[in-house]
């Protein structure tokens, strides 16, 4: 076995042509597990990653550095009309480098829906469970102790208890965690068991060649086979192309760029699936409510997500469900997400230590008439896409309901003020004011919507006329192209997606290896 290597843009000064068994595009939750399993099988694997190789040496827990280097478009990715802000990772490790460690297996009801609606028989709880067990062992996935949750999560826990709602403690992929709270800015002590510090280095030790700062631009294909992956090297600092080209000639190609960049790569390669590539993109749209407490919450410190509730995840036919969690509340993120006038925002920020923030994460893609989001190429750009999202009346009903429920929970836990994130914020002094939310403006760019979970765009399905990849994640009309990431999910999940993608990737690597 020959040891692999991680190469960065500053080291890549001459054009390269590489031959290998498998080229994996993307180093996040899908690409990392796929590559790891393939090198274990003895395959030669080249991985291309557009983002940089950033490690704990750089993870100083400051926001400007993190957003610049670890997030797509400096954290500014959004739908075209800015109605939804899209937080998405971009570095070696992908989203796992900056996510908040929440680890859930795919709910059975979602897998059942996929089976019944999309004919997906390959992916079941029974099939995925052995993979999840291995993954959870490697990543030290374990429930976070109640006595260690921070005050931000404690508000959610207490509110849920007071109202008698279902509640649980989140399982997190951490090892020797110091409970700092900066997971979203890159873990400074490698306690987070992200792909960056676990599966990728494991794979490199076993032969993986990883090219960071190397953006795959187009797939060459002929007949039913991909013949080459063409990429260009980016300067690690400016992120601009250096002029150096990398061409990979693999036997099999795996696209794992995530739910926006993977459709982008396919579209640039004229692999359109009659327009279905980039369609039906799901975002788990998030509603946010801020509350002020008498006591200090200090939501900028402590494990960001440790409590959840699925009490509203299934609200019955015709209604969109949502689940409840909380985010970290560091100043730059809080101030840019907050709404209201400038002075109003400054006043709010003086209360940062007392602010509690709650999230309602909506389960999109399950209602019959939902179209979701659409990703399209943008003229003049290789990395910025045109993204649209179709909000429906069901969204607005759910958003309003969720904001009311969050406010109820916050007041039940002792909040003295709750405010919405409308452009003109609705401020509530007690639970008796909840109906004021009915009079608020519920329309795009009237209320802040965000997402940290991107899914779909290359949907898996049995029917080639309504999906992009088959139930084994193979592109329908090509024999040696697979897509392995969140983009293959035919709906959203109703849980944080990383472990679903881990499981799919580890499972898919088995038959991908056989395709070499």
């Amino acid at each position: 076995m020959t040891a692999g290597r991680i190469f960065t843009g500053d080291e890549l000064t001459k054009d390269l042509t590489l031959e290998c068994d498998v080229c994996v595009v993307g180093s996040g939750s899908g690409g990392a597990w796929t590559a790891h399993e393939l090198v274990k099988q003895g395959r030669s694997v080249v991985m291309l990653e557009e983002g940089g190789y950033h490690t704990r040496r750089e993870f100083d827990m400051t926001e400007p550095r993190a957003y610049q280097h670890l997030y797509q478009e400096l954290g500014n990715r959004a739908t075209d009309d800015l109605s939804m802000t899209i937080l998405q990772g971009k570095s070696v490790g992908g989203g796992t480098t900056v996510n908040w460690c929440s680890s859930f297996r795919t709910p059975e009801r979602i897998l059942k829906h996929w089976r019944e609606r999309f004919g997906i028989e390959t992916v079941s709880t029974g099939v995925l469970t052995p993979h999840w067990e291995q993954i959870e062992r490697r990543l030290h996935v374990a429930e976070w102790p109640l006595e260690s949750i921070n005050a931000n999560n404690k508000v959610l826990w207490d509110g849920l208890g007071a109202l008698g709602y279902e509640r649980g403690l989140i399982r997190r992929n951490v090892n020797n965690c110091l409970n700092l709270g900066y997971c979203g800015l890159g873990c400074p002590v490698d306690a987070k068991q992200s792909m960056l510090v676990t599966v990728i280095p494991d794979a490199v030790e076993q032969g993986l060649s990883l090219y960071a700062n190397t953006a795959a631009r187009v797939l060459d294909w002929d007949g039913r086979r991909v013949t080459a992956v063409r990429a260009e090297v980016l300067d690690p600092v400016s992120k601009k192309p250096t002029g150096v080209k990398v061409v990979v000639k693999p036997k099999v190609t795996v696209v794992s760029g995530g739910a926006i960049n993977s459709p982008g790569l396919l579209m640039r390669s004229q692999l359109l699936s009659e327009g279905r590539v980039g369609e039906r993109t799901w975002f788990h749209p998030v509603m946010i409510m801020m509350a002020e407490f008498e006591h200090e919450v200090n939501a900028f410190h402590g494990a960001p997500q440790s409590v959840y509730s699925h009490h509203f995840v299934d609200r019955g036919p015709g209604k969109m469900g949502f689940f409840l969690e909380v985010p970290p509340v560091q100043p730059m993120l809080a101030a840019t997400v907050a709404t209201g006038s400038g002075l109003d925002t400054l006043e709010l920020m003086t209360k940062l230590k007392h602010l509690q923030v709650m999230l309602a994460i909506h389960v999109d893609g399950l209602l019959p008439d939902e179209e979701g989001g659409t990703v399209r190429l943008r003229e003049g750009s290789q990395s910025r896409y045109s993204i649209k999202y179709a909000f429906t009346p069901a969204h607005w009903e759910a958003f309003r309901t969720a904001c009311k429920e969050m406010a109820k929970l916050q007041f039940a836990a002792g909040a003295k003020m709750v405010r919405s994130l409308h452009l003109a914020p609705v401020t509530l002094k007690s639970a008796a004011d909840l109906d004021r939310l009915d009079a608020a403006a519920w329309a795009p760019v009237q209320v802040r919507v965000a997402t940290a979970h991107q899914m779909g765009g290359c949907a898996m399905g049995k029917d080639p006329s309504s999906s992009v990849v088959d139930p084994h994640l193979k592109y329908h009309t090509l024999d040696n192209l697979f897509v392995v990431d969140g983009s293959v999910l035919p709906t959203s999940l109703g849980v944080n997606p990383q472990e679903t993608i881990f499981g799919l990737a580890r499972w898919a690597a088995g038959h991908i290896g056989q395709a070499v």
Binding site: R56, D60, M61, M267, A335
Partner: protein
């Protein structure tokens, strides 16, 4: 196959978030086209180390905007101390060229006297208005019935807030203590494989006698 193909089967979206149908296109024409109702801008002194991507006029608009979006408040440094417009110029130097182009168009649209006249009966550029009028213009964009104007407001507000709150000089006003001291190791080893021994880190980091809460074994 040709590399860098034109977008297949897609409609170009040259003007991105502002070009929303006829009205959006018209608004852009007002901002980035000929100044049909030209008025001067109040230029401000550029940063000593120069501007990265903005013109002096765009910088002046951004400076005026930053003063209104982040008004003076006790406990917080002024925008001139943080050099918000300069910080925004540096942020914009890192974004995709299409996003930069759109932001430049938006700044000029915001400044342009003609749309200000059409929407608010104010026949002057944003940078030359009184602060009361500037606040009124911002409020009009924020509460407009037109999505495109709310989008523009959201974009400008986001940029200015990011430019301001990126500075650690704002932390004291919020009582934010900052990251924990003594944790970050600026000299931590960076492992790239190639047969080298994998150091502590890369998934094997262990805290020296630090308390952990997840049951991990140090």
């Amino acid at each position: 196959m040709k590399m860098y193909l034109p977008p297949p089967g897609t409609k170009p979206t040259r003007r991105g978030f502002l070009k929303k149908g006829l009205l959006g296109g018209a608004l852009l024409a007002l901002g980035s086209g000929a100044f049909l109702f030209t008025r001067k801008s109040v230029l401000v002194e550029a940063p000593a180390d120069g501007l990265s991507v903005l013109t002096e006029r765009e910088f002046a608009v951004l400076t005026a905007l930053s003063y209104r979006l982040i008004p003076r408040r006790e406990g917080f440094p002024g925008v001139e101390v943080v050099q918000v417009a300069r910080a925004c110029d540096r942020i914009l130097s890192l974004v995709d060229v299409t996003a930069l182009t759109e932001m430049k168009q938006l700044l000029l649209l915001f400044e342009n006297a003609l749309p200000n006249f059409l929407f608010g009966r104010r026949a002057s550029t944003f940078s030359t208005m009184s602060t009361d009028d500037q606040d009124a213009v911002l409020a009009e964009w924020q509460t407009s019935r037109l999505t495109v104007r709310r989008t523009g407001y959201t974009a400008l507000r986001g940029l200015v807030m990011a430019g301001y709150f990126a500075s650690d000089t704002t932390w004291a006003g919020m009582g934010y203590p900052g990251p924990h001291a003594g944790i970050h190791d600026a000299n931590a080893p960076v492992w790239k494989g190639g047969g080298a021994d994998r150091p502590l880190g890369n998934g094997t980091w262990r805290a020296p006698a630090a308390p952990t809460v997840d049951g991990g074994t140090p």
